[in-house]
């Protein structure tokens, strides 16, 4: 298969299995195979976890900064501001995920009402 192929060429279900299920599941299966040998604090895993966390941050930034669909109609300043307000509430509220998400949600609705969509 062409390395530069896209979903359009192979269909959504096959794409889901090939580039969603398999590359995700491989780590669980490797874990099952390795189960006795590996130290959770080994240096390679420390590094790998840092890379994974940083990538997650990249996904998060992309979702907020270059949103598509309905969220994309809200000005980018409102999206960033709402995320920062939510995070501030999370920190003030003893790291409550619920409080942080709720604040961010209220902020984005209020911001979209004031500054338009």
């Amino acid at each position: 298969m062409n390395m530069a192929a896209t979903m359009m060429e192979i269909g959504p279900i096959f794409a889901l299995i090939l580039v969603g299920f398999l590359p995700n599941e491989v780590w669980r299966v490797l874990g099952l195979m390795l189960v006795s040998g590996l130290d959770e604090d080994s240096q390679i895993l420390v590094w790998v976890r840092a890379v994974a966390t940083a990538m997650l941050a990249g996904v998060l930034a992309q979702l907020v900064l270059s949103s598509s669909g309905a969220l994309g109609t809200v000005p980018v300043g409102v999206r960033v501001g709402a995320a920062l307000l939510g995070f501030a509430a999370f920190l003030i509220g003893k790291r409550s995920v619920f409080l942080g998400v709720l604040t961010g949600e209220l902020a984005i609705v209020a911001g979209a009402l004031v500054f338009g969509t």
């Binding site: 890379v51 966390t53 998060l60 979702l63 995320a83 995920v97 009402l113």
Partner: protein, 243 residues
């Protein structure tokens, strides 16, 4: 009547049911509901079918990987999507390695560990590591399966709700729904980042990601992970060495 007769060994079914109850009373069910309502809305926005989205939840069962999958499949090449997905799921390796020894018993082959392995996701793993030590060894696999299937069912339900709502809501509320995913990711990753290296990797990623994206660097997610993650690791090593 002996004590053994008055307290008979609990059946597999009972342990499984206890796991389901633990899932639905866990604080994680709220985060998961919020996260998957967002993913359902996202799948709708990107034009995927309801069945495709449910299949992705059952097969992938990892919110970050699903967000990547849904938001990049339309535009990126398959190899790029696969790389981004696999890099986002590396955490499962150490998680599974830490969990499975708790589930091992003398009877039963490794086949009975396949379902617990697949059900392992952040929420299930955190609750499992907390609750499993209090359970007798033979009950642990069914209990963990109940926990995982309970949370997976909650996620499926939430994603259907998000998908249906996104199709009907006014723009402003649909936007709020789509905003749930990045917000839940931001808060839950921040809460799980307890060590310096986690915090650095997360903070650096938030900065490096947009910079690379703005310069239209190819495979920007992978590079974000490698650059920001390695930088965090190097600082961590320097600090360790200085001790």
């Amino acid at each position: 009547m002996t004590a053994a007769e008055t307290t008979p060994p609990r059946s597999t079914m009972q342990a499984f049911r206890d796991g389901l109850v633990a899932a639905w009373t866990s604080v994680f069910v709220l985060v998961l509901l919020g996260n998957y309502v967002g993913i359902g809305a996202l799948a709708y926005e990107f034009g995927f079918s309801l069945n495709w989205m449910l299949l992705s939840t059952v097969l992938v069962w990892a919110a970050p990987a699903q967000v990547i999958l849904i938001s990049t499949l339309n535009t990126a090449t398959l190899i790029e999507v696969a790389l981004a997905v696999t890099l986002s799921s590396v955490r499962f390796l150490p998680m599974v390695v830490a969990l499975l020894p708790m589930l091992k018993t003398k009877e039963g082959g490794p086949g009975r560990l396949v379902l617990p392995m697949h059900l392992t996701a952040i929420s299930v793993w955190v609750e499992g590591m907390r609750l499993l030590p209090g359970r007798p060894a033979p009950e642990r696999v069914p209990f963990y399966n109940g926990l995982g299937i309970g949370l997976l069912a909650a996620a499926c339900l939430a994603s259907v709700i998000g998908y249906v709502l996104a199709a009907r809501l006014p723009t402003i509320l649909a936007a709020a729904l789509l905003f749930l995913t990045p917000m839940a990711l931001l808060m839950s990753v921040s809460r799980n980042s307890k060590t310096l290296i986690d915090k650095l990797a997360f903070g650096f990623g938030l900065v490096v990601g947009p910079v690379l994206a703005a310069h239209k660097v190819g495979l920007d997610l992978m590079w974000t992970g490698l650059i920001a993650g390695t930088a965090a690791y190097v600082i961590h090593r320097i600090r360790e060495a200085a001790r």
